[in-house]
């Protein structure tokens, strides 16, 4: 009973004088934890050597089978975000964050048991399905909460929360490697105890976040801030109504096409820079390039989303789509000219705008549909991310292979893909032109 009461929405309503700056750490903590999913690739090799230890034995799992763990997590993230949004708005962020903590931490514990017993289906169920559901609920609940606390700076609010998701990999990767090194023995690669410890640690940090989180009282607004009528916390277009508006689908296209290129590039960055610049870029230097891109991905989330409060959401997305298209059209030429510094700078800017798109879109949704159901609408819009997650890598990988097959040299194998990416951004830009706020009546 005490637990149910603690989790209830009524118990998370803050007093009118509550300092709203106590809430962002809760949002950041959840996103820092679930962002670990971006670092899952550090487990690929050890998971393929659970039995052979220093090599892959014949009965070890193949990398293709292991690849499905991340894919399942990504799919269930999308499903949970799309269908959990309305539930989140009803039960409040504390219960949602607690459920997310149980799912994400619990999923890691189940995956740990799966690795110990060498049962891949248990790892799929644990990390792929259960942690994936935790990821989806954990992604949308902090965003929807912060946006209600910062009606005067919605871009800053969503940037703060979603920046944590970018930072989660930077935290998760070295933590995973350090734990695996600590637990590794001549008989074990150390993945099972690493999953167990990470499950417990992430659960504790996420529950701490659930303890910190509060929602503002109805019709609360910051001192001296006069909300426009449509931005009143008690007003907003219902999720189902929103899905029948052209604005929702136009923004869906904007998000999908603005992140398609980034998703594809992030997965292939290391190989791409080595193929374009040949022996100038070693494998180690390419890894440094990937690290640099992840830093710009994270920084872009906070900086672009915060800047959108001053520039306006439409202007910010115009920059993402227009400047992005120009940069993608220029990148093949930069690659052929051999100017490595310019190539890295162009990509750093492109990836910062990729991160910025994720962080700015919830604030744009709030501008268009109002505050009340923004969490639920955001959850549904994230299906655009799932589509981009398939489209981006498919475009990059298959077009590269096709180009190589027809005899195009590796240095030019990405040119066609880049031009197609530029074209997709132009389509996104055309969709953006038609986005206008919804008449709530």
């Amino acid at each position: 009973m005490a637990l149910a009461s603690w989790l209830s929405r009524e118990n998370t309503i803050a007093p009118a004088t509550y300092n709203r700056w106590r809430v962002p750490p809760a949002a950041l903590a959840v996103h820092l934890c679930i962002g670990q999913v971006y670092a899952f690739s550090v487990f690929n090799l050890p998971l393929s050597q659970v039995i052979g230890i220093d090599h892959s034995a014949s009965n070890d799992w193949s990398l293709t089978d292991i690849g499905w763990i991340f894919s399942l997590a990504a799919v269930f993230l999308g499903i949970a975000a799309a269908f959990g949004g309305r539930w989140l708005e009803t039960v409040g962020p504390r219960k949602a964050m607690a459920v997310s903590a149980v799912c994400f931490g619990g999923g890691l514990v189940i995956a740990s048991i799966g690795v110990s017993l060498h049962q891949l289906w248990l790892v799929y169920l644990g990390y792929g399905v259960i942690s994936g559901i935790g990821l989806g609920i954990g992604y949308i609940s902090p965003v929807s909460t912060l946006i209600k606390w910062f009606p005067d700076r919605p871009g800053l609010a969503t940037g703060l929360a979603i920046m944590g998701f970018g930072g989660g990999a930077m935290l998760g990767a070295p933590l995973s490697v350090a734990l695996m090194d600590y637990f590794a023995t001549p008989e074990s690669v150390g993945v099972a105890p690493t999953f167990l410890v990470m499950g417990v640690l992430y659960f504790l940090l996420m529950i701490y976040a659930a303890y910190l989180v509060k929602v503002p009282p109805i019709d609360w607004h910051p001192k001296n801030f006069v909300a426009k009528k449509s931005f009143s916390p008690s007003k907003g277009v219902d999720m189902h109504d929103a899905m029948f508006t052209p604005q929702f689908w136009l923004l869906w296209i904007v998000l999908c096409f603005s992140v398609t290129a980034g998703v594809g590039v992030l997965g292939q960055a290391s190989l791409m820079i080595q193929e374009i610049f040949g022996s100038t870029v070693t494998v180690a230097a390419a890894a440094g390039f990937v690290g640099l891109l992840s830093l710009f991905n994270m920084a872009g989330r906070f900086l672009w989303a915060s800047a959108s409060d001053y520039l306006g959401r439409k202007v910010t997305f115009t920059i993402f789509l227009f400047l992005g298209a120009v940069l993608y059209a220029l990148v093949p030429g930069i690659g052929l000219s051999g100017n490595l510094f310019l190539f890295i700078a162009a990509y750093a800017l492109i990836i910062s705008m990729y991160g910025g798109s994720f962080a700015t879109i919830p604030a744009y949704l709030r501008d268009v549909f109002g505050v009340k159901h923004v969490g639920a609408i955001h959850g549904r819009l994230l299906t655009a991310w799932s589509v981009a997650g398939v489209l981006g890598p498919v475009l990059i990988n298959y077009l590269r292979e096709y180009q190589l097959c027809i005899g195009v040299p590796p240095v030019e194998a990405y040119s066609l893909t880049f031009y197609i990416m530029a074209g997709l951004l132009v389509i996104g830009f055309i969709a953006l032109i038609f986005v206008k706020p919804v008449q709530q009546e």
Binding site: R22, G164, F225, V226, G288, F289, L295
Partner: protein, 52 residues
């Protein structure tokens, strides 16, 4: 006072609100973030210096 002026005034106490709001939770988060970001940044610099 106009709506814009009022809104500017509300964000002018940003640093006061940040300082007074949940110092411990902010410290935990900033510590975790700076460890992750610092690690990645130093590694990226070290590895990029391998460009011949």
């Amino acid at each position: 006072m106009s709506e814009d002026k009022l809104n500017k005034k509300s964000s002018s106490n940003f640093w006061y609100q940040l300082g007074m709001g949940g110092i411990i939770s902010w410290l935990i988060i900033l510590l975790l973030l700076s460890w992750g970001v610092g690690n990645t940044f130093l590694n990226a610099l070290k590895l990029l210096s391998a460009i011949t």
